[in-house]
C-alpha cells in the first residue's frame, strides 16, 4: 500500500453521499491516512458539517433570494473557479445541481472554501432582512400598543366635546377648531411616518407631542 501524504489525500478523498466519516471503500491508503492524520480528519469533519448545514439550508423554507445565488456565482466566476453562464431563472433544481457534483472537478479545499463562502453569504443574506423585519414589527407593536389607547381616548373626548358645543361658534371657538384640524393633520402625518419607520424615535416623539397638543386643545374647547 502506497504512502499517502496530506496533499495527496485532499486530492484523492471523496466525500460519500451519506456519511462524512467513511471514504471510498476501495482506497485503503486514503483511509489509512485519514485514520492517522488528525489534521486531515478535522478537515474532512469540517467538510461534512458544511455539507450537512448546506443541505439543511436547502431544505429550509423560504428559499434564499435569487440575488444570493447570482452574487455567489459572480464571485466564483470572478475567482475563475467556474466558467458556465448561469441560468436566467435560478431554481431549487439548479441549486441542487450546483451542490451535487457540478464542482467535482474542483480541488477539495477550493470546494470547501466555496461551500463556506456560500454558507456565509446565505446566512448573512437571510439574517439581515429577517432581523430587520422582526425589529420593525416589534417597534410597530410597541408603538401601536401605546398610541392606540391614546388615540381612542382622544377621539372619544373629541366626540364628547363636539356634542356639547353650542350651534353658533365664537371666533375663539372657531380658531380652536381650526387649530384642532392642524393638529389632526400632523397626527395623521406622524402616524404614517411611524408606520413607515417604526424604529424612528423622532417620529414617535412628534406623534406623542401632537397627541398632547390635541388633548390641550380639547381641554381648552371644553373651557369655552
Amino acid at each position: 500500500m502506497a504512502t499517502v501524504n496530506c496533499k495527496d489525500f485532499q486530492g484523492r478523498f471523496e466525500l460519500p453521499e451519506d456519511s462524512p466519516r467513511s471514504s471510498s471503500p476501495g482506497d485503503l491508503s486514503v483511509q489509512a491516512h485519514l485514520r492517522d492524520c488528525p489534521s486531515c480528519r478535522s478537515f474532512i469533519e469540517d467538510l461534512g458539517k458544511i455539507r450537512a448545514a448546506a443541505a439543511q439550508l436547502l431544505a429550509s423554507d423560504p428559499e434564499p433570494p435569487a440575488r444570493i445565488w447570482f452574487s455567489l456565482r459572480a464571485e466564483l466566476e470572478k475567482e475563475g473557479l467556474i466558467r458556465d453562464t448561469p441560468s436566467k431563472t435560478p431554481s431549487k433544481s439548479w441549486v441542487r445541481e450546483l451542490f451535487s457534483g457540478r464542482f467535482t472537478a474542483l480541488p477539495r479545499p477550493v470546494l470547501a472554501g466555496g461551500y463556506l463562502a456560500a454558507l456565509l453569504a446565505i446566512a448573512f443574506g437571510l439574517s439581515g432582512p429577517i432581523n430587520s423585519r422582526i425589529n420593525r414589527q416589534r417597534w410597530l407593536d410597541g408603538t401601536q400598543s401605546s398610541t392606540e389607547p391614546l388615540s381612542a381616548q382622544l377621539t372619544s373626548a373629541e366626540k364628547a366635546s363636539f356634542s356639547s358645543f353650542p350651534a353658533s361658534e365664537s371666533p375663539v371657538t372657531a380658531s380652536l377648531h381650526q387649530n384642532l384640524e392642524i393638529v389632526d393633520n400632523y397626527i395623521s402625518l406622524c402616524e404614517n411616518s411611524v408606520r413607515e419607520e417604526p424604529e424612528n424615535e423622532l417620529a414617535r416623539e412628534y406623534l406623542y407631542e401632537a397627541y398632547q397638543q390635541k388633548a390641550d386643545l380639547l381641554a381648552q374647547l371644553n373651557e369655552q
Partner: protein
C-alpha cells in the same frame, strides 16, 4: 380687600348735540365705559388679568402702584379690579346671558412696578408688555403677544397667536399651534420655543451654558449667529431640509438616530459653550450668519 372705584363715564353731551354727524361716526367711543383705578403695592406684587377679548397693554413705571384703565363698549360686561394683599386681580366678565363676542371686548392699559409678576389670559385681541422684569405667564387663543425688554421667567402659550420678544432676558418658554415666533436681540440663557405650523426666527445671543431649543412641525426655523458665538449645534428635520452657514467641528460621537432618520447637521461652533437644538418634522431649518 379693596374694591374697584371707577372713574365716572366721561360723556360730553354738548359735543354730542352740536355734532350729530361726528357722534354717529364715533358712537362706540362715546358710549364706551372708561374705568380707572389705582392700587398701592409692595415690591414684587402680582397682577392677574383675565380678559376674553380685547387689547391688554402693560407697561412698567417707577411708582409703587398699579394703575388700571379699562374701556369696554357693551353694558353686557363689566370690569372688576380688586386688591388682595400684594395681588391685584383684573377681570372682564359678562353680566348678560345673551352676549356676542364683540360685546365681550374690553381694552386695558395697565401700569405696574418694574418688578411685578404678571399673569395674563386674553383669548383674542392683543397683549403687549414692556419693561416688566418680574416673572410672566401669558395665555391666549388667537391673541398675539408682544414683549419688550422683559426679563424673569417668561412663559407664553398661544393657540394661533403670534409671539414677538424684543430684548428679552431670563428664561423663555413659548408654545403655540399655528403662531409664529420672532425672538429678537434676546439675552436669555434658556429658550424653549415650540410651534406646530408657525415659523421661528431667533436673532439673539447664545450665552455661555445657555440652552436654546426651537422646534416646529412645518414652517421655517431661522437662527442667526455671529462669528464670535460659541455653541454646540444639533439641527434635524425629519422630512425637510437643513441649511447651515456655520463651519462646525464634527461631533466626537455620531448620533445614530439623527444620522439615520431625516436630515441633520451636528457639530460645534467655536468652543461650544451654549447648546442649540433645532428640530422640525417637515420644515426647513436655516442657520445663517448675521448680516
Amino acid at each position: 380687600m379693596s374694591t374697584a372705584q371707577f372713574v365716572p363715564l366721561r360723556f360730553n353731551w354738548k359735543t354730542g348735540l352740536l355734532a350729530p354727524g361726528l357722534l354717529l361716526v364715533t358712537s362706540s367711543a362715546v358710549f364706551a365705559h372708561n374705568i380707572e383705578k389705582h392700587f398701592k403695592v409692595e415690591p414684587r406684587s402680582v397682577v392677574t388679568i383675565h380678559n376674553p377679548n380685547g387689547k391688554v397693554v402693560v407697561k412698567a413705571w417707577t411708582k409703587s402702584e398699579v394703575m388700571v384703565i379699562a374701556t369696554h363698549a357693551s353694558d353686557k360686561v363689566e370690569v372688576d379690579a380688586e386688591q388682595t394683599g400684594n395681588r391685584v386681580d383684573v377681570m372682564t366678565h359678562q353680566i348678560s346671558d345673551s352676549i356676542s363676542p364683540d360685546d365681550l371686548r374690553a381694552d386695558y392699559q395697565i401700569n405696574v412696578p418694574e418688578d411685578a409678576e404678571l399673569q395674563i389670559h386674553d383669548d383674542s385681541g392683543q397683549v403687549s408688555v414692556a419693561n416688566v422684569l418680574g416673572d410672566m405667564n401669558v395665555e391666549t387663543v388667537g391673541a398675539g403677544v408682544d414683549l419688550e425688554d422683559a426679563a424673569g421667567y417668561l412663559t407664553v402659550r398661544t393657540v394661533g397667536g403670534s409671539f414677538q420678544c424684543i430684548r428679552c432676558a431670563g428664561r423663555l418658554e413659548v408654545s403655540s399651534i399655528s403662531g409664529s415666533f420672532k425672538l429678537l436681540s434676546l439675552r436669555s440663557y434658556h429658550v424653549h420655543a415650540q410651534t406646530s405650523k408657525g415659523n421661528i426666527l431667533f436673532d439673539g445671543e447664545f450665552l455661555p451654558n445657555g440652552i436654546y431649543r426651537l422646534k416646529n412641525y412645518s414652517g421655517v426655523i431661522e437662527v442667526h449667529f455671529s462669528p464670535g458665538d460659541s455653541f454646540d449645534l444639533s439641527a434635524t428635520s425629519l422630512k425637510g431640509k437643513v441649511n447651515s452657514q456655520a463651519s462646525l467641528t464634527p461631533p466626537a460621537h455620531a448620533h445614530p438616530v439623527y444620522s439615520k432618520f431625516g436630515n441633520a447637521i451636528l457639530g460645534t461652533f467655536n468652543a461650544g459653550h451654549a447648546k442649540v437644538e433645532l428640530s422640525s418634522f417637515d420644515g426647513t431649518i436655516n442657520i445663517l450668519k448675521r448680516e
